[in-house]
Symmetry: C2
Subunit: 690 residues, 2 copies
Amino acid sequence: MRKIAATALLAVAFAPLAPHAEEGMWTFNNFPKQKVEAAYGVKITDAWLDHVRLSSARLAQGCSASFVSPDGLVMTNHHCVEACLEQLSTAKRNYIADGFSAKSPADEQRCPVLEVNQLVEITDVTARVKKATAGLDGQKFADAQKAETGRIEKECQTSAALRCNVVSLYHGGIYDLYKYRRYQDVRIVFAPEFAIAFFGGDPDNFTFPRYDLDVSFVRVYEDGKPLKAANFLRWNKAGPKDGQLVFVSGHPGGTERQLTVAELEYQRDVALPERIARYAELRGALVEFQHRGAEQKRVSEGTLFGIENSLKALKGRREALVDKSFFADKVAAEEAFRKTLASSPREGPAALKAYGSIQGANDLLRNVRFEVRNVMGSDGFMTDYFSIARTLVRGAEERTKPNEARLREYQEAQLPAVTHRLFSPAPIYPDFETFKLAWSLTKMREDLGPDHPFVKKVLGSDSPSDVAQRLVRGTKLGDVSQRKALWEGGKAAVDASSDPMIALARQVDPDSRAVRRMYEDQIESVETKGSEAIAQARFALEGTSSYPDATFTLRLTYGTVKGWTEGKKEVPAFTTLAGAFERNTGRDPFALPKSWIDAKPRLDLATPFDFVATTDIIGGNSGSPVINQDGEAVGLVFDGNIWSLGGDYGFDPKLNRTVAVDTAALTEALSKIYGAKRVLGELVAGDGKK
Amino acid sequence: MRKIAATALLAVAFAPLAPHAEEGMWTFNNFPKQKVEAAYGVKITDAWLDHVRLSSARLAQGCSASFVSPDGLVMTNHHCVEACLEQLSTAKRNYIADGFSAKSPADEQRCPVLEVNQLVEITDVTARVKKATAGLDGQKFADAQKAETGRIEKECQTSAALRCNVVSLYHGGIYDLYKYRRYQDVRIVFAPEFAIAFFGGDPDNFTFPRYDLDVSFVRVYEDGKPLKAANFLRWNKAGPKDGQLVFVSGHPGGTERQLTVAELEYQRDVALPERIARYAELRGALVEFQHRGAEQKRVSEGTLFGIENSLKALKGRREALVDKSFFADKVAAEEAFRKTLASSPREGPAALKAYGSIQGANDLLRNVRFEVRNVMGSDGFMTDYFSIARTLVRGAEERTKPNEARLREYQEAQLPAVTHRLFSPAPIYPDFETFKLAWSLTKMREDLGPDHPFVKKVLGSDSPSDVAQRLVRGTKLGDVSQRKALWEGGKAAVDASSDPMIALARQVDPDSRAVRRMYEDQIESVETKGSEAIAQARFALEGTSSYPDATFTLRLTYGTVKGWTEGKKEVPAFTTLAGAFERNTGRDPFALPKSWIDAKPRLDLATPFDFVATTDIIGGNSGSPVINQDGEAVGLVFDGNIWSLGGDYGFDPKLNRTVAVDTAALTEALSKIYGAKRVLGELVAGDGKK
């Protein structure tokens, strides 16, 4: 499971709902301690919460992680560092296929793009943000909000080692400033072979029983040395027991449990099916692209995995929305709340009006969605070169403006992350870029039609394939020094550049900005303001004893290790190492790696391998630690079962399950399969009690 | 536009609706002559109707056509004979790219699979069919209906030169016996280059303005000589005028304007999005497969075209269903009719009960759809070899049974068509078959899951690619003589065969039959019987002055040559040859062929090229003649505009348009571009008045 990028189109929503039994992705400053104590007799202290929060980490690219040793060792999933492994691989050394294990500190290799964030402080800035936007609408509302959050973030971010984000919770009910410590020197320490990290491949993805060792360890460095981590999770090598209370701390990417019915219909009827069809086609093309040769396969593996993973996740979400009773419940809940509003003269009118304006914004979005995706967004330019070119062109333009007047992603507080990505030495493969760009240009022509002025501007009378080849052949942006020169040269350098990809980005920028302005003015700000109004009314009428929709901010969820019942079938909570050998067919994706076959005689096959729990997670939680009540690591989240996919819109405690690797299996594998004594020694050294 | 195969899953429906202005796909024995006379002052006689009906033809593979000379010359679309052109092509002579023109009768080449049908008689057999099924339910209902229609067809079909089909109209309101004259010796006479037949390619498909010469001429032979056609359409080389009354005679494949809301929801939420995602992925894979080489491109061109065409059509249908006001109208119409039923003690109860049983059958279908597609159907075995193997295995088994106890497709009346396909010498390309089979096996594993017993039975511990390679490498079914030997050898020969594809078809047959039995018993027969009940009630309450949903039976629709208005934009009814040269970019799919570039100085560029009309057509009407009130050919239907795609569910007279080639353009091109004097001479010789 990987965080699904929450695009502008897929992520607009509103306020809280009364949670089921163990449902809830709680913020650390509003965790229901009393509820846990009442249900489990376990007291959660503020010290415990601080310990867990500071032991948790976020990978800026979209995963969760945890510190697991005093020397900056960080545990996450294999699939969260797969891009790094791919970037460090070459035609001759394939860390994806063969795995990676640093025998000594000197062997730990820096990941080109990986950034680790640790949440150090949360501050409520609601009053300040709301004051700045009071009485404003449309583009003025959006501009004022952007300017104020930009100011708050800039004030907070006193060094590049900090990352400050103003986040919206409860869809504008609360604005909090999240201050992270930012680490950009992150090195790979250990990763197993892809074949066991993703055993069962796409067929088994989002299912259980499961037999995956989806783990990797990286290390955070500071000033060239391993970070001294004051907070980390101790290692519990026994793993959890069936029925045990567990916690998951991590960064769920986004949920949409509070969408209005109008927005849910848009998801069901437009956004999801269209995105699914796009990814399905791309998947078909990628699988065939891999047949061109071993090198093509290697360089596209991560992209294909990401697409297949998203595709399955999106299909699961769509399934939830086309479930008639599920949708009928959503409709009934909204009707009930609107009735409440109708009889609330103080809170009602503004919120009821907001439903209408959200519906209107949504109808408009239906009509302009292809422009939003292709002209404002870059669906049509699916190549790293274009992302780089747009960053350079926009970055040059925006940096000539005062901070608060800039596009949000070029405000001062964002620049360290921007340049970290921009100057990454990760290799770019021209053939693969040509393939992706040609494909996406074809889709753009399909979305907008061959006679659309934007399409004519980009393609002229050439074919998508001609254009892609010409641009990729001509661009020098694969060279990091060229990017640095253009970034540092600013607007003059970018204006003077004859690089064809820069020329394209310059050429389409006015169109793109125009659509963005329309989108912010007539759609986004209307939805933001509308959902704020509904959230306010809900707070006023129902209080704040609930959790906000996920927004890639740190959350804590609790539940128990527990299987489920499917019709007459009982699905137990644990699998064992023995099960992996039984499922092995020797053929991809059900082929165990050689290291496992060789080690079999040495293994305790009864060791628990993967397990499930009732914790409430979603994409973005990949890499989250599973923690026991003593604050120790007992597992590593890497997936959810098929019913977890509906979790975007609601939580079903009977069926929705988190899927995790057991620390017992991790211990057994590190010791007896990989001989990874250095890592294991560090983990067990931290294990004070065992 | 090509007929979308109406699969069992996509084609279940019920009774008639009051038509809009010019809406209607009328049967020839219920054409609204008075209505036409009232609106246009034109008298349509029975002789005129007979002339048009007998001049019309059906291509058994799913298109329409017309006789246009006394010597058996038949006009249809290029895309309707594309498979034939592909089959007759080799690596060295490419009739798709280069076109085909028989200089002499001896050059006319026989199409391996093409079958032309001419409707010679319609007989009402409703009473007989209903009597046979009276009082029966489920499988007994289905078996009795099949046995009776089998008897009727067998009695009718006194020779292999006849094709007799009992067809259901008004969803079981009427059963008619359609008797066709069957012609299996069909030879290709003329086809232009693919580049002009499908100018604009997928981007322009289902749009207008348009510049396509999507035409081909074939000739029907009888006893080795050109057929002497008593009925044919005279050629009007001037083409139609703007605003003129025109008729389209042809075989619309299927509409679903009478589906219940439950069935429409299934289409909207399940069938269409899932089929779209499947085709999108296949399209991505096929486009990349073509990059393997020129030969791979050649042999997969027709398949890719078919998939892209279906994909665009399915997307258009889905668009119609997710249009909120369109769907709300459907819901309102059903509610209104159910109210009428509730106050009709005689007709009401049975029909109201039918809505409930259709809903129940539909809910069941949701749960078993993947088995229906993959175990009962052959979604997982996407190769000609498997179709052949299944036909041989089932044919052998079924032919041991009495006619009425057989599966419908192996009853005596069907066998001439079965063996025509089975013994076709059309080439099969093993590499392409391996590709398709491997892909579809992967999808089957995805649909059913890797642990499904059927998947395990088919794949064992091998990968889809292993299995596909092994089967294709091992089978001898590419050899027509092997197929003949197995067909003629019957069950003993098939049982004894060690061909691996035959072995697979044998192995999965019991599973497939079991699911089919369940499907017929609990889903299909429930829907058929239910829709019959609703149709009966509707006839009783509203009369029969309407048209039935399309079912690939011959229909006549009328309308006027007329553009439309889109927002502020007027789309005129005609394009000209000049427009094609303006749209030419020289790059596929907007590249005019060399023959056109060379001929430009000779052409009258003001000649009308393509035009639109308000006639009510749908996939399957491809190749239909456009006819004037004098019964002459004035055009050739090859497409509908984007709004025609919603025509599956309803007709919008403001926007829905038929797209056709003008006979003026055909005349100009045959004469001045192709020098096809023989064909043109035949057409003009038939043109008595000009």
